[in-house]
């Protein structure tokens, strides 16, 4: 039977009225299982009537459902989408005599009150506002009627903490409403089964309808030039080609930069999340009316907001992920029977190769998996607080039973542990198995209805040009920024002059190395598989086969052949190159962001442990820049690649990540979500480092690791890279700095300090002594003396006048004693000085430079120096002996 005939006569009549003469393929396939009452995951391209597919059968049931209360909830990730859906569904609801309402952050008090008194049959809302429905007593009374929950753009939620939170909220809803029917609407994903489980929880059966997107895509890749001017010209040519286009960019700053150049045309507008609602809606409306030709937008436009017909999607720079490309290009055409046109404008060599690979994968429908979060403990803490606000008191057993029905928590046994942590910071009380709330619990929940980190941005202000130069996340600033510190933002080095009113006042700095790491937003990581295939493309040069146009192919070939001409090896999927540059080594490795992040950190940890010095890293998808002290060379890195045990990578990272900025940044964010730190906390004069130590071995730390090892680093892929190297599958060569190695970096920057305080102290003292002045005086001819720095003293000092090696290493102030040593007639006191100098020179004669170093130390004379040397230790132990002697001297001989 055709799907249409399954619907009741009222719905069929309304369909006719709406001129729906034919149902789309998506609707044909989706309506029957929904009518049968099955939980359904519907995967289909945008613009194929997904919303109606879900809602027609739901309407069919709603019109026959008596009583009052919310009967269906339609949840979308975005307020803008809510407005759109409301607009689309209002007509149907009106025709069918159903009431519909929207409720989210922007909803007026009047509207909210109306809903509380007189709930609509269908409520369109966001996951966060759903959380709020449980808090108000009156709203809660309307929940038991819920029979249908539709989650739109579920792929956008399933892999995030917002989604994890939503999945528990649905189980909390089931406590009131019993079982309800769940319908998820999704764009193409690599793992439909898992996303469906996310929708329904572990034990409920589900159906999946999957309508592929790829056959209807026409995507081309074009090289747009390396400099911004020619890129802008390429964008303009693209915009001029079609009547209407969406221009997708990856970051807000790119959107602003392009907007700045294109405003003058008068037919282009910018649209991104930081702009006000009014500005965005205005831009959408004008686009819909055809007053503007192109809209520059970020990921917020990926979702199905209706802005009228789009002829072409232009993607500026690589889309980084296959699913993102499919979703974005899918915005064009907007009918299943028409082809979606997309053009990627590549902005460099990496970008071009990557775009070609992603396009190839998109055509073959190789979408990435959505990785469902398992056991997010901050979400759990958040929902435990929510349950307590809801019920006043609840047992651990009941909490566990509720949360384990959600797929992301089905095997989660952490409830008691998380409750213990929450009790520690006085968010709840715990008596045996019974949990009760504290006064702070409600305040916490109101401030944390959302799992999206609500980061305060701290402005960076340049004192010299009197201009803001950017912003940093507060969680980052509190741990790392102090007066005098230097850090890099937007490729420039700054020194902190002052911290004032939540602003960082800086001036340009000139030192070669940035002391502090910086974090330029959370970027879209390039997946391992994409990076590896991009590496293969570098090796096979099959640019044409990948669909590169003539211009792109010439450009890519030129880069490769200029590398080959200069004898520079090209790093690929089976070749890693290590290239020296002024401050360290560039490792070209096609591992993608997450694997490279893990690998770079593991290698730095080993380097710091071995050499006792800090290592700086910058990580991208195709290269890692190591900033190294002068003693460490590419060969040392290569040795490490061959010697590190892939099985130990995670363990090493777990031990050593604690010292890194990344970890501290994340743990602050998570402590906030746990309610241990308030959003608006004032950290002034608190040692954030000591504070974070109190989270050691708590669920806050567990969650920090969980997040780091899933969203930032991929240990498994890093281990695979190492295995490939050690099995010989991948070769490692050392080479001079090449064009590829010189390419820009993205993603993170961090400094890994040495593992023990001891090493850092010894290095500092060593540096102090090397920088100290020492007076060399020949005790043989007694005619030569020279004031020099310890660092310039040779292994075996020798008198240039007489050639003797009997050279005393004196403190600079002992200069005044030299004339007395030269005297023929000496007093007893002067003879003692001479004996002391002679002893000094003898130690230098027998032990050379080492003796000079010891003698330069504070309060170390010949007696002490020979004691130190007699211990026959070298390296750090030698300096440890010096430190001991200095401490002793300070204690007993000085000042007091």
């Amino acid at each position: 039977m055709p799907a249409r005939n399954l619907l009741s006569p009222e719905i069929q009549a309304t369909l006719l009225k709406r001129n729906f003469l034919e149902l789309s393929l998506t609707q044909q396939k989706a309506i029957p299982p929904i009518m049968e009452g099955k939980h359904l995951l519907l995967i289909a391209p945008t613009g194929t009537g997904k919303t109606e597919s879900a809602m027609l059968p739901v309407f069919d049931r709603l019109i026959h459902l008596p009583g009052s209360g919310f009967k269906a909830l339609y949840i979308t990730p975005l307020r803008a989408l809510n407005r759109d859906i409301l607009f689309r569904l209002q007509w149907w609801c009106h025709e069918l005599g159903l009431s519909v309402g929207v409720r989210h952050g922007d909803t007026s008090q009047y509207e909210r009150r109306k809903q509380a008194l007189n709930p609509p049959d269908l409520l369109i809302t966001t996951p966060e506002t759903l959380q709020a429905l449980f808090i108000g007593k009156r709203l809660r009374e309307h929940l038991p009627q819920v029979r249908y929950v539709i989650i739109d753009e579920i792929h956008e939620l399933a892999g995030s903490k917002r989604g994890a939170q939503l999945s528990i909220a649905l189980e909390r809803l089931a406590e009131y409403a019993g079982e309800f029917q769940r319908i998820g609407l999704s764009a193409t994903v690599g793992n439909p089964e898992e996303v469906a489980s996310f929708l329904t929880g572990k034990d409920r059966p589900h159906a999946i309808v999957n309508i592929p997107a790829a056959p209807h895509m026409d995507i081309s890749v074009r090289f747009a030039g390396e400099d911004f001017d020619s890129q802008v010209r390429a964008v303009e040519r693209c915009i001029d080609h079609d009547k209407s286009s969406l221009l997708f960019v990856n970051t807000r700053s790119t959107a602003e930069a392009l907007g700045h150049r294109l405003y003058e045309r008068g037919d282009v507008e910018v649209h991104h999340g930081s702009l006000s609602k009014e500005v965005r809606i205005d831009a959408e409306d004008r686009f819909k009316q055809g007053k503007i030709r192109s809209l520059i937008c970020t990921s917020s436009m990926e979702l199905g907001i209706d802005i009228g017909h789009i002829e072409r999607v232009i993607q500026f720079g690589s889309p980084r992920e296959v699913s993102r490309l499919l979703q974005r290009v899918g915005r064009a055409g907007h009918r299943l029977d028409t082809v979606s046109h997309g053009t990627i404008l590549a902005t460099g060599f990496d970008d071009l190769c990557e775009s070609l690979v992603i396009t190839r994968k998109a055509k073959q429908n190789e979408s990435e998996d959505v990785s469902i979060i398992h056991g997010a403990l901050d979400v759990l803490a958040n929902q435990i607080a929510a349950l307590l606000v809801e019920y006043g008191e609840i047992t651990i057993g009941r909490v566990t039973a509720i949360i384990q029905r959600a797929y992301g928590f089905y095997d989660c046994g952490a409830v008691p542990e998380v409750c213990g942590q929450m009790a520690e910071h006085r968010l709840i009380r715990m008596e045996g198995n019974l949990l009760t709330r504290t006064g702070r619990c409600r305040t916490y929940l109101y401030g944390n209805l959302s799992m999206i980190p609500d980061e305060k941005k701290v402005q960076i202000f340049d004192l010299v040009s009197r201009r803001p130069v950017g912003t940093l996340d507060e969680s980052f600033v509190i741990g790392w920024i102090n007066t005098g510190a230097t850090f890099i933002v937007k490729g420039q080095l700054w020194q902190v002059v002052d911290l004032d009113d939540g602003k960082i006042i800086v001036e340009p700095a000139h030192s070669a190395t940035g002391e502090l790491p910086s974090w330029e937003g959370e970027q879209i990581p390039v997946p391992f598989a994409v990076a590896q295939e991009t590496g293969r493309l570098r090796r096979t040069h099959a640019f044409a086969a990948y669909g590169a146009g003539a211009l792109s192919e010439t450009y890519a070939d030129d880069i490769i052949s200029s590398m080959e001409d200069s004898g520079a090896p090209v790093a690929s999927d089976n070749l890693v190159t290590l290239e020296h540059f002024d401050d360290g080594v560039v490792m070209n490795i096609c591992g993608g962001h997450k694997a490279n992040e893990a690998l770079s950190r593991v290698l730095s940890i080993l380097l710091t442990a071995r050499y006792g010095s800090s290592v700086g890293i910058e990580v991208g998808a195709y290269r890692i820049v190591f900033r190294l002290p002068s003693g460490i060379r590419a060969g040392d890195l290569r040795d490490l690649l061959y010697s590190v045990d892939p099985a130990h990578i995670e363990g090493l990272l777990r031990l050593a990540m604690k010292r890194t900025a990344l970890f501290k940044y994340k743990i602050v964010q998570i402590a906030k979500k746990f309610g241990a730190i308030d959003q608006q906390a004032d950290y002034e004069r608190i040692s954030i480092h000591r504070l974070l130590e109190t989270f050691e071995d708590t669920s806050i730390q567990t969650e920090t690791y969980r997040e780091l090892f899933t969203t930032i680093m991929d240990v498994k892929e890093a281990a695979r890279l190492v295995q490939q190297i050690q099995s010989g599958e991948t070769e490692v060569v050392i080479a001079p700095l090449s064009a590829i190695g010189r390419e820009g970096l993205s993603s993170s920057r961090d400094i890994i300090p040495p593992p023990s305080a001891d090493q850092a102290i010894i290095a500092a003292v060593k540096r102090r002594i090397e920088d100290d002045n020492i007076l060399l005086f020949c005790m043989n001819c007694r005619k030569w003396k020279s004031l020099t720095k310890v660092s310039r003293v040779s292994e075996q000092p020798q008198c240039p006048k007489c050639g003797a090696r009997l050279v005393a290493a004196l403190k600079p102030w002992e200069d005044e004693l030299i004339p007395t040593v030269k005297k023929k007639q000496k007093t007893n006191e002067e003879k003692a000085t001479e004996r002391r100098f002679m002893k000094n020179a003898n130690i230098v004669l027998s032990s050379g430079r080492q003796a000079v170093v010891a003698l330069a130390a504070r309060g170390v004379g010949p007696e002490n120096a020979s004691r130190i040397i007699a211990r026959m230790c070298d390296g750090d132990d030698f300096y440890r002996e010096i430190l001991k002697a200095e401490r002793n001297y300070i204690k007993t001989h000085r000042f007091w």
């Binding site: 010095s613 800090s614 241990a676 906390a681 950290y683 608190i686 305080a757 401490r887 300070i890």
Partner: protein, 252 residues
């Protein structure tokens, strides 16, 4: 006199005719202060008291001197302080006699002290050394002495070629006082006045980098010492360098 640096503190054991254990800025009750500012952690008082006791056990002093800011909340005494301080002080009293030179955070602490335990705010000369919390002008009689003070919570960060290798370690700063700047007359025998800034005992102290104490305006003395030649030591007495050179290296 000779000082001994107790790294388990940081604390100082001053030995002259008697053995005096000196602890600065213990800040008991700080956790509830943090809570008011939005950082919620459990009270660590028990652990801090344990550290004090082990410093006492390790050094076997004749007396313990608190160099101010024994408690945290100002101007009002917090619930945590009411609940914890009597017991903390009692535990110490049972081990050893102690004195307090009150700091800017010690308002109201008298109620928990025996009269003889409270020394004047302006500081006191004990066994040849002048002790003061450090938040006020130095009194005239301190001139020509070694002055030991708290209040500034000095820390030092170490750097190597690449970046910061050790962050914010508790540090001592020893410097000559500029008498004129500090409003002091020169000592009649021409003896110089030296000051030793002690690190905070309190483990959550954020600390002030030694490099910026001079510019910090944190106290009347903070800008009145010879920064160029001041010397920086770690909690265990390890000599790091002259302050002038540390400042220069950080800028290089």
């Amino acid at each position: 006199m000779t000082p001994e640096f107790i790294s388990g503190g940081p604390a100082l054991l001053m030995k002259n005719t008697c053995r005096l254990l000196v602890i600065a800025d213990a800040h008991f009750g700080a956790e509830s202060g943090f809570s008011r500012k939005g950082v919620h952690i459990a009270s660590n008082s028990r652990e801090r008291l344990r550290r004090i006791c082990s410093c006492i056990d390790e050094t076997d002093p004749d007396m313990l001197l608190f160099l101010g800011d024994l408690k945290h909340s100002v101007p009002l005494m917090s619930h945590q302080e009411f609940a914890e301080l009597p017991q903390i002080l009692d535990t110490i009293r049972k081990k050893i006699p102690f004195r307090l030179i009150p700091g800017n955070h010690d308002g109201g602490i008298e109620r928990f002290l025996e009269p003889e335990e409270l020394l004047p705010k302006r500081g006191a000369l004990i066994d040849g050394t002048w002790y003061v919390h450090g938040h006020m002008h130095l009194p005239p009689e301190s001139v020509g002495n070694l002055i030991v003070c708290g209040h500034h919570h000095p820390v030092v960060s170490l750097y190597d070629e690449v970046g910061c290798s050790l962050r914010a370690q508790p540090a001592y700063l020893l410097a000559e006082i500029d008498e004129e700047c500090a409003g002091l007359a020169l000592h009649e025998n021409g003896r110089s006045t030296r000051i030793l800034f002690m690190p905070a005992f309190f483990e959550y102290a954020g600390g002030l980098d030694v490099r910026i104490i001079h510019a910090s305006k944190l106290s009347p003395v903070s800008r009145c010492f010879d920064a160029e030649n001041a010397e920086v030591f770690l909690g265990d007495g390890t000599y790091i360098d002259r302050l002038g050179r540390l400042i220069k290296n950080a800028r290089a």
